[in-house]
């Protein structure tokens, strides 16, 4: 099994195949399952992702009453047509928010790589699918590109907010999505790895400081930020821009920052936004 992004890209280059193919072959070897069964399971996961987006766009209210309804708001804003940037970008952000509003309402989602960051990858992929009019099969294959990047990040740095802060969740999700979109748009494995590194670098240091210990504020809107960052860095990589710090060194930096971060900022709701006067007020309202 590949232990680094360097090894992953080398395997893809040696075989003259995209990263997603390396991941599918590796999964078949590791689990003894056929490639068809593996693709089928991922297809099922993608169906769950799309269902969550569909539900979120309708407008979801979370249990706490703190969040919800923003996917609907962004959707209506986009429909009105007077937008500053680009339809695909806003769709990705809106779908990301939709997924995480459903998550906060204890709805059914697919963790990618975590539940708190589950909006980023589906948001980006679904928006791209609509833009490029691609069949589900193509998108499902590229989820393996994201998965391969995520596996290396998870094994070398970690993907839990409690161990590594929000950078480990939204940062990892954004890096995974950036690589997937880069390959989807015809980029090489080398470019996909740069997109991963560029995306992750932009998210380094991000604290996990959720209000009242809920996965709502700031988590939901950070999924939108992760989606936008993924699209931006994929564009950079496709333009031939490279990360000056090598891929695996960026992941190592995330690990170091995560380890060094005090527990106050790692999913304990004891610092940052969680302990602002507003954060404290929500905590009192919900838990006392």
């Amino acid at each position: 099994m590949f232990n680094s992004i360097q090894e992953l890209v080398a395997l893809a280059q040696a075989g003259g195949v995209p990263i997603w193919q390396v991941m599918i072959s590796q999964e078949a070897e590791e689990t003894g399952r056929g490639e068809e069964a593996i693709l089928l399971e991922m297809g099922e996961n993608y169906r769950v992702m799309k269902e969550a987006v569909g539900r979120g766009i309708q407008g979801v209210t979370t249990h706490s009453g703190m969040g919800g309804g923003d996917a609907r708001r962004l959707h209506d804003y986009l429909q009105a047509g007077n937008i500053l940037t680009d339809e695909t970008l806003l769709k990705a952000a809106g779908y990301a928010i939709a997924t995480n509003e459903v998550n906060a309402a204890m709805g059914r989602i697919c963790a990618t790589p975590t539940a708190g960051s589950a909006g980023v990858l589906p948001g980006v992929l679904l928006a791209m699918q609509e833009k490029m009019a691609l069949p589900d099969e193509t998108i499902v294959r590229h989820i393996f590109t994201a998965g391969a990047m995520g596996l290396v990040i998870a094994n070398r740095a970690g993907i839990s907010g409690a161990e590594g802060g929000c950078q480990a969740e939204i940062g990892s999700a954004s890096a995974m999505a950036a690589a997937a979109v880069t390959e989807l748009a015809g980029g090489t494995p080398h470019q996909a790895a740069h997109a991963m590194a560029l995306a992750l670098k932009n998210m380094l240091g991000l604290a996990c400081d959720p209000l009242a210990g809920l996965v709502e504020v700031p988590c939901i809107k950070r999924n939108a930020a992760g989606a936008a960052n993924a699209i931006l860095t994929a564009e950079l990589a496709l333009a031939g821009i490279e990360s000056k710090v090598p891929w695996d060194e960026v992941i190592q930096a995330m690990r170091q920052i995560g380890r060094g971060m005090p527990a106050t900022f790692k999913e304990t709701a004891q610092g940052g936004l969680a302990t602002t006067p507003t954060g404290e007020a929500w905590k009192r309202l919900l838990w006392s």
């Binding site: 003894g32 593996i38 998550n103 990618t112 989820i143 998870a154 161990e163 959720p210």
Partner: protein
């Protein structure tokens, strides 16, 4: 390398809001339930670290009880697991602990039903992956991802040989193995993870093996 499969990164399909604090807690509960082998009548859950601070907001309490009732991570009944437990007359207690744990997402489950009790500790690694770290005071390293057999036995020579020989007879390959004891010459715990599922007749034979006290089968 704790993560081996792409579906640990893209997955699990689950009820929100947190893969580590909700889905991971469901899995820890499920593992404990399967080791216990029956529905517990009393449940005490001790939360440590991040779990102790955010278990209510992340629905960790609801999730671990859902797992102890053997619900899957994407079972909508998880949302109402506390009510399900109440209806079944199960006594549930949650205790946030101040003691700093080795891993920030740690919980201990104490289960009881009649004369049977079980105390098991686990950690949630992120993205829904988990590991049991302690069982009845024995250190442990069990993910529940592959089939496994837990053998409690007297700490005397020959037991490991007898157990592994019985597995070999059924062409069951061992992928990981752990042996731990609290004191020399007393009782030891052997944990064996395998590539193939372990048939019931092997479990039966192992239970009748000399010096073996208890055998628990987990089918991945």
């Amino acid at each position: 390398m704790p993560y081996r499969s792409v579906f640990e990164i893209i997955g699990p399909v689950m009820i929100g809001p947190s893969s580590s604090h909700t889905a991971g807690a469901v899995r820890l509960g499920q593992l404990a339930r399967r080791i216990f082998g029956m529905a517990p009548q009393e449940i005490t859950v001790r939360f440590f670290g991040s779990f102790a601070q955010t278990y209510r907001g992340h629905a960790t309490d609801v999730a671990v009880v859902g797992g102890l009732m053997d619900f899957e991570t994407d079972d909508p009944r998880i949302r109402d697991s506390l009510q399900h437990a109440r209806e079944l007359g199960i006594a549930v207690t949650f205790i946030p602990e101040a003691e700093p744990p080795q891993h920030p997402n740690t919980l201990t489950m104490e289960l009881a039903s009649g004369d049977s009790t079980l105390r098991v500790t686990g950690v949630s690694l992120g993205g829904g992956a988990v590991r049991l770290t302690e069982l009845e005071g024995f250190p442990l390293n069990l993910t529940g991802e592959s089939p496994a057999i837990l053998v409690l036995h007297l700490d005397v020579p020959g037991v490991v040989a007898a157990v592994t020989a019985r597995l070999a007879r059924n062409e069951i390959n061992i992928s990981r193995m752990d042996l731990s004891r609290r004191e020399r010459g007393k009782v030891a715990l052997m944990v064996i993870e395998t590539d193939q599922p372990i048939p019931r007749e092997v479990e039966q034979d192992l239970m009748e093996t000399q010096h073996v006290l208890r055998v628990t089968l987990l089918q991945g």
